[in-house]
């Protein structure tokens, strides 16, 4: 039996599907978060150079990865919405932005806290740090532009253009440590090389990355549901939903 994927591109059916999926991702994110923090803080050994301060990687690296990844996903769905005029994809992009901005902020903030004792400074204007700060501004720009335009369909289009233009920044962030001399160190984990990290440290970090994924999916689905309700509040199915909720 073929699954009719297009069925779920309608906000009404996506609303109920997302409602069923959210609890699964919430539970998964809590379990992975507890496991990841346990491995990170109790199982993983101390680092030979940085001592205990290296444990920032269990928050900093997942946050930095998510900040870049979520931006690409956001731009992708915003672009799809712009090209095909599909309402749900634009709503999804709008729902991703605050979570992406939060992870960007966490990456910058934890990096600054770590930088002071390790590097000797809170902040330097090197290519990696500056491009990540630009990413934060892109997220904020996307959100404020959408908030400034009253008509949601026009807001989607304007936001999509910012999101797509900003995509050029992602490879710049990722490769900045290879292309230029930066204070920020190179990647410890990459596709074409064995990770330069002890196994338990790597495990802790990867579990935290998975936890961040599950968290992001749960929160973004929830936010998409809210946006769907807001924008479809005039439709028959939302009215029916309201009636059902009132009875309960």
């Amino acid at each position: 039996m073929a699954i009719n994927w297009f069925k779920y591109s309608s906000p009404a059916s996506f609303y109920s599907l997302a409602g069923k999926m959210i609890p699964v991702f919430v539970v998964a994110s809590v379990i992975l978060l507890v496991a990841g923090l346990y491995v990170g803080f109790f199982v993983a050994p101390t680092d030979f150079q940085q001592g205990e301060a290296y444990r920032i990687i269990f928050i900093h690296v997942p946050a930095a990865w998510m900040s870049m990844f979520l931006y690409v996903v956001m731009a992708f769905w915003a672009g799809i919405g712009l090209a095909f005029n599909t309402r749900l994809s634009s709503m999804f992009a709008t729902a991703i932005a605050p979570t992406g901005a939060m992870f960007t902020f966490i990456a910058l903030w934890t990096g600054a806290l770590w930088g002071k004792p390790m590097w000797g400074t809170w902040w330097v204007w090197d290519a990696r740090l500056t491009s990540e700060l630009i990413l934060l501004f892109l997220y904020i720009g996307f959100m404020s532009l959408q908030a400034a335009i009253d008509d949601p369909r026009r807001a989607d289009k304007a936001g999509a253009i910012i999101a797509l233009v900003g995509v050029v920044n992602i490879p710049i962030i990722y490769f900045s440590v290879q292309w230029w001399n930066t204070l920020h160190q190179g990647a410890s984990v990459s596709v074409n090389q064995a990770p330069s990290m002890a196994t338990t440290m790597l495990m802790g970090m990867l579990i935290m990355v998975l936890a961040s994924w599950m968290y992001s999916i749960a929160v973004i689905l929830k936010r998409t549901r809210v946006i769907i309700l807001e924008r479809e509040s005039h439709t028959a199915w939302v009215a029916e939903l309201r009636k059902k909720e009132a009875v309960r």
């Binding site: 050994p45 150079q49 001592g51 390790m118 000797g120 797509l164 995509v167 204070l183 160190q185 330069s196």
Partner: protein
Amino acid sequence: MKPRHKKLAIIASGVTALGVAAILVLNAFQSNLVFFFSPSQVVAKEAPIGKSFRIGGLVAEGSVQREDSSTTVRFAVTDTAETIPVVYTGILPDLFKEGKGVVAQGKISANGIFEADEVLAKHDENYMPPEAAEALEQAAKAQKASLAQ
């Protein structure tokens, strides 16, 4: 071509054009995006002499000398090809160590010594427990010894 495919093509070519533009701009700004200069670049006079700039490399083994009465430190920054002597007064970051990465900001004085007003540690991407680091060091020593024989 359907209108929505046309739209997709316009968006795709727009993003591609932006990407190319970004590559060209970054290429043009290449030298300004460099956070520090290596000792070899300084010797080759690629660094802005007379102005404040950053120098980066490894702290040369056995070069760190601390003055007893003050926080003045003398050390040398090397990229294995060239070495530049540095003098700095102030508190060094935790990761400052011989044989490890360092970035210093300051000016080259007339006598060729780099007078730093700020010293930052640049560490590498390796993370491991102290025992593993020790084992690696021992292995390197053993290899050196066997090469010497």
